[in-house]
């Protein structure tokens, strides 16, 4: 009878029974052979987008949103930390890059650098407060900071343009060894696409490395049992904070690119925008980095096509989302790497 102790003593670690239920969630969902293969998949996806998506700015937007979602998944999927405020770093990156281009220099490198570095610093501060708690408290705190950011952007309209948006951002120039190119998405979308794709690929590779590095592995261990990770000697908050900073910096980069794409930074309620990127992550699947990227592409495709024919297209998105969480917690990625291969295997066997 010694075992009828309260489960609360275990620091919220799922008991064996519960874990068995969730096992389907992760077991083998990210087969090791796919780890670096994701980079290849991303190249393929980028090429497919390049040749099939008829709207250039949508195509470029897919890369940017994809990167944003993949970065968020560091927190959501790998860290078990659901941020409800990931619009904040995206918007911040946009303002930082936009204001740099407007007032300092038209160098794309400088603008992006400012976006990334300033967002990393801000993330460290915000994260230090938000990560005092985990689970839903963390979500609520990130939401609160996003609301705070929205409020400041709205009120400080001398700087940000308020809800009218930050307009008139000049076309940036990109210095490359031996040459400089103009990043004008409207006049020369191909250059913009290629530059974005290369940047995204490099950062994506960095994200894969991060998840595969000792630090990234500890992050996943913390998601499984923070208590145990502490017992191994890890400062779990430090690892989570570092990840928060990385995710923030990546979102800042995405936001900066987005500002360059549009030469404009708009303001919209951040909790809505945070919700959209979260949908992309779940739709694509939480157990990989490529999944959220795919989720972003599919979501934008749904939005841009469905919305033209069906005013209540969000009903479909919502329903897909519910089905995803209920039946395919691994999202599209799980569907592609687990369910479909499983079906094929079965069919072959029955033959």
């Amino acid at each position: 009878m010694t075992h009828l102790t309260t489960p609360s003593a275990t620091d919220g670690t799922p008991t064996a029974g519960e874990a068995a239920v969730t096992v389907a969630r992760l077991s083998g969902a990210a087969p090791a052979r796919w780890t670096w293969g994701q980079l290849g998949l991303l190249v393929v996806l980028a090429v497919v987008v390049l040749f099939t998506v008829p709207n250039p700015s949508l195509a470029i937007g897919m890369l940017i949103y994809g990167l944003w979602a993949a970065g968020l998944n560091l927190l959501v999927g790998y860290g078990g930390l659901v941020s409800f405020g990931h619009a904040l770093p995206f918007a911040w990156g946009g303002y930082a890059a936009g204001l740099t281009l407007l007032h300092v220099s038209s160098s794309a490198w400088l603008a992006l650098l400012v976006a990334v570095v300033s967002m990393a610093v801000l993330s460290a501060l915000v994260g230090a407060v938000c990560l005092r708690r985990t689970e839903v408290y963390f979500s609520m705190l990130t939401l609160a900071f996003a609301q705070l950011g929205f409020f400041i952007a709205l009120q400080w309209d001398d700087l940000t343009g308020g809800d009218d948006g930050l307009a008139g951002i000049p076309v940036p120039t990109l210095w490359l060894p031996g040459t400089t190119v103009e990043l004008n998405a409207l006049r020369d979308p191909l250059t913009f696409f290629v530059v974005t794709a290369v940047l995204v690929l490099v950062v994506f590779a960095g994200l894969i490395l991060y998840t595969e590095s000792p630090m990234g592995r500890v992050l996943q261990a913390i998601r499984e049992s923070e208590e145990r990770a502490r017992g191994c000697g890890y400062s779990t908050r430090l690892v989570q904070l570092a990840t928060f900073v990385v995710a923030g910096a990546v979102a800042g980069l995405a936001g900066g690119l987005f500002a360059m794409l549009n030469n404009f930074v708009g303001l919209q309620p951040y909790w809505l925008l945070s919700g959209v990127v979260l949908i992309m992550v779940i739709l694509g699947g939480r157990s990989s980095l490529f999944g959220p990227f795919l989720g972003a592409v599919v979501y934008l495709l749904l939005e841009s096509t469905l919305s033209r024919y069906f005013a209540s297209w969000q009903l479909i998105v919502g329903a897909i989302f519910v089905i995803c969480v209920l039946a395919f917690p691994q999202g599209l990625w799980g569907l592609l790497t687990q369910t479909l291969p499983g079906l094929f295997r079965k069919r072959r066997r029955t033959r």
Partner: protein
């Protein structure tokens, strides 16, 4: 004689007026296999928590390897070489057995590395394999931890603690819920481990304790009732009175 690896002096902790641990002192010499016994509610687990930094003592100090660690956070204590295995199995449920141990194994030298793949660090991989070998789970290295049998999960729990290469290992009922054969295997394992690491354990099964511990502390209602060699415990009248009678 070298300094004891762990010294607890006058540890005290009360929860809302009730003394869970009352003026308990311990000295664990290097290489010992020290057991703590006591009926339910006698303060064993609280004592562990006071040592590991989970709970702050109301009074008293804890010294580990010549350093005052009183009130130090658990992760920092762990980094100093004090590892704990849990009464209620605590592993990383959705990671593979190998990864469970590897996480612990990399803690020593590669905690916060983010610029190279973890699987490429040879020393860590080798150490992980060695630990898996030792706890007898080498054959299950790619199994998801939560799919292991209860006994295997307990051994994995121990393995995680072991992989951090601790200088002192705290075991909280390592054989809880195990079948007799699993228990026997674990007893052998603990004995073997004790060859190169000091062990402090809580255990309920008296036969287990008597067969492996070289020194025993008996707790009763938060206070130290007795401390001595196993044979002395067996013969001590007060211990028999409060503890042995009826439980075996």
């Amino acid at each position: 004689m070298t300094e004891p690896i762990l010294t607890a002096a006058g540890l005290d902790r009360s929860f809302g007026g009730i003394h869970a641990v009352n003026d308990v002192s311990l000295e664990i010499p290097q290489g010992a296999l020290h057991a703590i016994i006591g009926p339910n509610g006698s303060g064993k687990t609280t004592l562990f928590n006071l040592i590991t930094g989970h709970t702050r003592p109301s009074a008293g100090r804890v010294r580990f390897a010549g350093e005052d660690i009183t009130g130090m956070p658990y992760s920092k204590v762990a980094r100093k070489g004090l590892a704990k295995s849990y009464q209620i199995t605590t592993v990383f449920p959705l990671l593979t057995v190998f990864e469970n141990v590897r996480i612990a194994a990399q803690a020593a030298a590669h905690s916060y590395v983010f610029w190279r793949p973890a699987d490429g660090i040879r020393a860590v991989v080798a150490h992980t394999e060695e630990v898996l070998e030792r706890i007898g789970l080498a054959g299950e290295r790619d199994v998801i931890a939560s799919n292991l049998s209860h006994g295997d999960q307990r051994r994995l729990d121990l393995g995680i603690a072991l992989a951090t290469s601790p200088r002192l290992l705290l075991l909280d009922e390592p054989t809880a819920g195990m079948s007799p054969s699993e228990t026997a295997a674990t007893v052998e394992l603990v004995k073997e481990l004790n060859r190169d690491v000091t062990i402090l354990m809580i255990e309920h099964k008296m036969d287990v304790i008597l067969s492996i511990a070289d020194r025993i502390t008996v707790l009763h209602q938060g206070e130290k009732l007795f401390e001595g060699a196993p044979e002395d415990v067996k013969s001590h009248p007060r211990v028999q009175e409060v503890y042995l009678t009826g439980t075996l």
